[in-house]
């Protein structure tokens, strides 16, 4: 039973040398988290590879070669070719571009909506909150996968449709977080003080709520990226996501629908599968690190 906590025991805070913004302190805490740094490095590598590699390799990922269908990995095609004779490695890199793009954009959409609605609902409360929260509950109640599929089937699968539908179904999670944080912030002295100085809701939300909320929100956002990537993979796997001939890790996995391929041609589905798993893992590690960085137990 420790009745003493370190802050009260050591009394005065260690004064930083120079202006140490809370941002810089958080960055230091993040860098101390080894897995998070590893994840960040991995993501950086993947992103760099996804952007640069296709150009460097010089192979057209959409080049159909009917003569070289389903070739196993060899000298000419390092990871073999797929059912349409396209180079798997090139498609892997392009697919990375697409999957990461979808993941990031969809997360951006859902986080932005969640931030805006959450701040407003949390700050104004009462019927505004009631109204928005009910909408969020309704959205949450939908089986998002099925709806996304239905939408894709109706409107026709395309990249923007995919990004928007994933984004529009994922905003309740960041919304809840932002709303909760805003509500607890509302009672805090620092916010009451600014209201007492004569600040209106716009200023308070812009300068005092959003900056504070952004930190924990980043954590949710990174998890949203992971979730979006997985959703995209699922939908594309079912053939209703990223439309061919554009490659995405998900629609590369589409190949795995055939039992033969699954059993005897691992180079067609293992690379995208592993890529997805590693990316999601890396994103989750980064999310963990961000959570630790944003939650200082000792600094006050």
């Amino acid at each position: 039973m420790a009745v003493l906590d370190t802050a009260s025991a050591t009394g005065v805070l260690p004064a930083g040398a120079g202006a140490l913004s809370p941002g810089r302190l958080a960055a230091r805490r993040f860098l101390r988290h080894r897995l998070a740094v590893a994840g960040l490095v991995m993501l950086a590598l993947f992103t760099a590879a996804a952007i640069i590699a296709p150009v460097v390799i010089g192979i057209d990922p959409n080049q159909v070669t009917p003569t070289a269908v389903r070739r196993p990995p060899g000298a000419e095609h390092l990871l073999g070719t797929d059912s349409a004779g396209r180079d798997v490695l090139a498609r892997l890199f392009i697919g990375g571009r697409i999957s990461l793009l979808v993941g990031l954009s969809a997360a951006l959409v859902s986080t932005s909506i969640g931030l805006a609605l959450g701040a407003v609902a949390g700050y104004f409360g009462r019927w505004v909150d009631g109204f928005i929260s009910r909408i969020a509950d309704v959205v949450l109640a939908f089986p998002s996968l099925i709806v996304i599929i239905v939408v894709a089937a109706f409107v026709g699968p395309s990249l923007p449709t995919l990004i928007l539908s994933i984004g529009l179904f994922s905003w309740p999670t960041p919304f809840r977080i932002v709303r909760g944080l805003t509500m607890s912030l509302r009672g805090q002295d620092s916010l009451v003080a600014v209201g007492g100085l004569g600040a209106g809701p716009t200023r308070i939300l812009r300068k005092h709520v959003v900056p504070v909320v952004v930190a924990p929100l980043t954590v949710v956002a990174t998890l949203g990226v992971a979730q979006a990537i997985l959703l995209e993979a699922t939908v594309s796997f079912l053939g209703l996501g990223v439309p061919p001939p554009t490659a995405s890790w998900g629609n590369m996995l589409n190949e795995a629908q055939s039992l033969t391929i699954l059993e005897s041609m691992p180079w067609l589905w293992l690379p995208p599968g592993i890529a997805i798993a590693l990316t999601v893992l890396a994103v989750n590690f980064v999310g963990d690190g961000l959570r630790d960085a944003a939650d200082p137990r000792q600094a006050r």
Partner: protein, 331 residues
């Protein structure tokens, strides 16, 4: 006090591990407590007053460590004991009263159960019923009305003053010979504080226990204690009996503190305040830690060496190179 001290802290050193490195919290503290006496330890944040006692009793948080020194209860060195052995000391030989009962009391157990548990843990043969009955008696002894009903209530159903009384009941349940009270009334209203201090005095008189009062409130020190230990930056800077401390202090910090107190019945135009900021434990000044704020030092050469505790008079020790200069100046 001719008998031997029952509690002896000997050159205790404690430090904490934090984000930026090591924070020294207690830098070589030694003092004695004799049976039946009331000793006050006074200091501000960062003085190390609470950490000293918590170190002795094994109640430091995970980031804290006793690096050197001893804390003898009679002949046993508490610092060397295991957690298990310490548990048999706490609540039996030493009773503890903390500042915030809400963190020290278990919120999901009734008050009666908590008192009874303290009894049964240290009295092997006691039956549940006997412990429950004794618990009610104890609650009555500390002045809680309707003790039998109250024993069945939870801490959150008690007011602050009542909770503190319950804490005292738990602390004294096994008639410890030493009661340590860490800021026991700081969180309480002044009228309730008066009640609780009165209770502590009574408990001490009835049980003959020694009482160590840790506080920042010099008023409480003046009221309750016979001897005073003044701490600053993890060290003892002065120790004397209470009258000497208040009227013949020989350390500039003690003097400064006393002078800066606003007095209820002597309003002045400007309070002679101590300048500067409390010391940062991680960046203590070289030499005497009080040097940057000390009006006596005038940055003289000697103050760049750390002053040791020297005897100014029998029973009066101070850690100041120029304490003799203070002897002439009236408080």
């Amino acid at each position: 006090m001719t008998s031997a001290p029952m509690f002896r802290v000997d050159r205790l050193v404690t430090e904490f591990r934090v984000d930026g490195g090591i924070v020294p919290a207690v830098n070589g503290v030694s003092f004695d407590v004799y049976p039946g006496e009331t000793v006050g330890i006074v200091g501000e944040s960062g003085s190390g007053k609470t950490v000293t006692v918590m170190s002795a009793l094994g109640l430091l948080p995970a980031s804290g460590r006793v690096v050197a020194g001893h804390a003898y209860l009679d002949d046993r060195d508490l610092v060397a004991l295991s957690e298990r052995e310490l548990q048999s000391v706490r609540g039996k030989d030493v009773g503890l009263v903390f500042q915030d009962p809400m963190t020290a009391l278990n919120p999901v157990m009734t008050i009666g159960t908590q008192v009874a548990e303290g009894l049964r843990r240290h009295n092997q043969g006691m039956t549940r019923k006997a412990a429950a009955d004794r618990a009610v008696e104890l609650l009555a002894e500390v002045g809680i009305p309707n003790p039998r009903q109250r024993a069945r209530q939870y801490p959150h159903e008690f007011s602050g003053g009542m909770r503190q009384r319950a804490m005292i009941a738990i602390a004294m349940a096994n008639r410890p010979r030493l009661i340590i009270a860490d800021e026991p009334t700081t969180a309480l209203d002044v009228t309730i504080q008066a009640q609780i201090l009165d209770l502590l005095r009574r408990v001490q008189q009835e049980t003959g226990a020694a009482l160590v009062m840790i506080t920042h409130d010099l008023g409480v020190i003046a009221e309750m204690t016979q001897r005073v230990i003044v701490m600053y930056a993890g060290r003892i800077v002065e120790t004397a009996d209470v009258d000497t401390t208040f009227h013949h202090a020989r350390h500039p910090y003690t003097r400064g503190l006393l002078q800066s107190l606003p007095r209820l019945y002597q309003p002045v135009d400007e309070l002679p305040a101590i300048g500067g900021q409390p010391p940062n434990p991680q960046r203590l000044p070289s030499g005497c830690a009080y040097r940057p704020r000390c009006p006596l030092s005038r940055d003289r050469e000697e103050c760049h060496t750390r002053p040791e505790l020297t005897t100014a008079a029998p029973g009066h020790q101070t850690a100041c190179h120029f304490h003799t200069e203070l002897a002439e100046v009236r408080v």
